[in-house]
Symmetry: C2
Subunit: 231 residues, 2 copies
């Protein structure tokens, strides 16, 4: 009904959806819109700014995305999926140390991508920016991030059961700490911290968190307060 031709209408061989073809790339437009929302927030981005940046007319925008709110929602979800993918890939690592390393370091890489025009994390910005607009992006993003945290907590629990972490470890608290670091890195990136600074902080945190490193060589423990592994 409201969704124009999201998927091919079954009768067609998916080659062309019928009617006049769209004159712009929908994914490109979505990316450009995300960038604008990122920089100016939802309310700070007008439909005029969007149509101008995307090089399309207002009617084209509404035909393709429905409304400004839905466009925003779609942009946020697109980026949220990236962050979830990082968590998903990370928890698949065999050792818990590698899991934590990948969650933090891979996320820093994502936050610092230069081909995107803006550092940081769109979902964090989105959540901070607009609370009670037409659209409840805040709740949706919060839910998404809770699921990322749950995945991580489950992985920590497994590590405890496997004896990889001491039995006294509280998985919920450890997961909360890692998520706190994650959000902190996103904010620092947004504030202009360099990749090197962020990776340095992340690696220090990882060194402090890694029980194997500390257990293996307690004498070298104080070195954990240096930036960490040289690599």
């Amino acid at each position: 009904m409201t969704t124009p031709p999201a998927a091919a209408p079954a009768g067609r061989p998916a080659g062309r959806p019928a009617g006049r073809p769209r004159a712009f790339d929908r994914d490109d437009a979505l990316r450009a819109a995300a960038l604008l929302f990122w920089r100016h927030g939802f309310s700070g981005t007008s439909t005029r700014m969007l149509t101008e940046a995307l090089g399309i007319s207002s009617s084209s925008l509404y035909a393709a995305f429905g409304s400004k709110a839905r466009l925003f929602d779609e942009a946020v979800r697109t980026y949220a999926r990236r962050y979830s993918a990082i968590h998903e890939a990370a928890v698949a690592e065999p050792s818990i140390a590698r899991v934590l390393e990948r969650v933090l370091v891979d996320s820093v890489e994502e936050f610092c991508r230069v081909e995107e025009g803006h550092p940081g994390c769109l979902t964090s910005s989105a959540v901070m920016a607009d609370a009670s607009t037409t659209l409840d992006v805040r709740a949706h993003v919060a839910a998404l991030q809770r699921s990322d945290e749950a995945r991580l907590r489950a992985r920590v629990e497994r590590a405890v059961l496997d004896g990889e972490l001491p039995a006294s470890t509280d998985p919920a608290v450890l997961a909360e700490l890692v998520q706190t670091l994650w959000h902190g890195l996103a904010t620092r990136a947004e504030l202009g911290a360099s990749r090197a600074e962020l990776v340095g902080a992340a690696r220090l945190a990882l060194a402090l968190l890694d029980p194997a490193g500390r257990a293996a060589d307690p004498a070298a423990d104080p070195a954990a307060l240096s930036p960490g592994r040289p690599g």
Copy 2:
């Protein structure tokens, strides 16, 4: 010129600034405005919303604060001063462990104040929300937070010189990590994390960071991965 009667005009004994007195409390209005900006962001808060919430007319608002942008700026600075005050008080502590504990735990208390209507950190929200509006709040907030970080880094350097931290400690990296945790706690608060969760994460981080605790009893080290001191 543009600033009406910010300070008493010198000739008066500061009792009354002359002219018709203001019918509302300027600080109360500023607080109420800050809350609105917090919830809806700068662009998401209209002057109508402000005048309605503050119970004053548009002309009164403009007479008292100059413009919507200046009101926003003043609100952000007011809150930023609170966070700076926490850092200032913390670095005055004699032991570095107490310094870090106070920076993180006191900030969590601040983020979770219930008498304010919104959890989290206004400056973080402000930075995330609006980048290139009329007013460059972003740069100002970033500068403020850089000064907080510099203060903390200087305190860490002193702790290293005092032998309280191992000589291999990199003060810049340690300060960056603490600031990362700080921003992370702010974001988690904004996302709805409870005070207990935040304090738990903060205390775990502190336990991992505390070299005295680990050096004193390396055997008990794994316990550091539990929530931390019961108190």
